[in-house]
Symmetry: C2
Subunit: 133 residues, 2 copies
């Protein structure tokens, strides 16, 4: 297998609400091949897709029952610590659920967590060890 990932899908309870969250809170623009059943956001060569949760489970032939910690947070790394503060301040103002306020992390970075409408966790962090340029 080539060392790559094509799509991450988030199983969501309300596609319109979740699409609007990523459009309005993240400021992202959906891909033109999105449709009424699925939303795609192109993220540098891969796609983040939003799809109805029970339909997603059915597609995978597994039960859609599940609760609690998913164990698979997504991370958005900023280019500076201040950018973490600024993003979290803006999220807070807009009513986004802040799970962890920005703080120095044991691994040497500066990290915070927010939740999307379905409880999917996003770490918003500055990592001085990963060069984004």
């Amino acid at each position: 297998m080539e060392q790559r990932l094509s799509i991450i899908t988030l199983g969501v309870s309300d596609l319109i609400k979740s699409t609007s969250f990523y459009e309005q809170q993240f400021g992202w623009i959906k891909s033109s091949f999105s449709n009424e059943n699925i939303t795609f956001f192109e993220l540098q060569g891969m796609q983040l897709s939003l799809y109805e949760r029970s339909a997603l489970a059915k597609d995978a032939t597994v039960s859609d029952q599940g609760t609690g910690f998913r164990g698979i947070p997504l991370a958005y790394n900023t280019r500076a610590e201040k950018e973490v503060d600024d993003l979290i301040a803006r999220f807070e103002k807009k009513g986004v659920d802040i799970i962890k306020k920005p703080e120095k992390a044991a691994w040497g970075g500066y990290s915070s967590y927010i939740s999307d409408p379905d409880g999917y966790l996003w770490e918003i962090a500055y990592n001085p060890f990963i060069n984004l340029d």
Copy 2:
């Protein structure tokens, strides 16, 4: 926010076992900045990381309790239907847990699902609508 994703982290119960799964079953090579606590695989500009599940929950300041469907499968798209069959045949031979055997999908592709050691789902699929080149 720029339209990108930096890291997907999988909370795993056994870091050595999970690292070995992605190295041996997927044939991936870990990043040089991996260490005994965390494994990184670079996937075209983003990182897939493996980190101990309860430590991950602690970092996010949430409970590590959680069961069932996580709702967030990852997808690896191939360049042809036959590649899906070949990969699944190889996974089967190597004892990887096959969740769904390859079949024509309602959305027009050809799709299968496998599970990693912690139950994270990977869709292995051919999608004729997404050009990988």
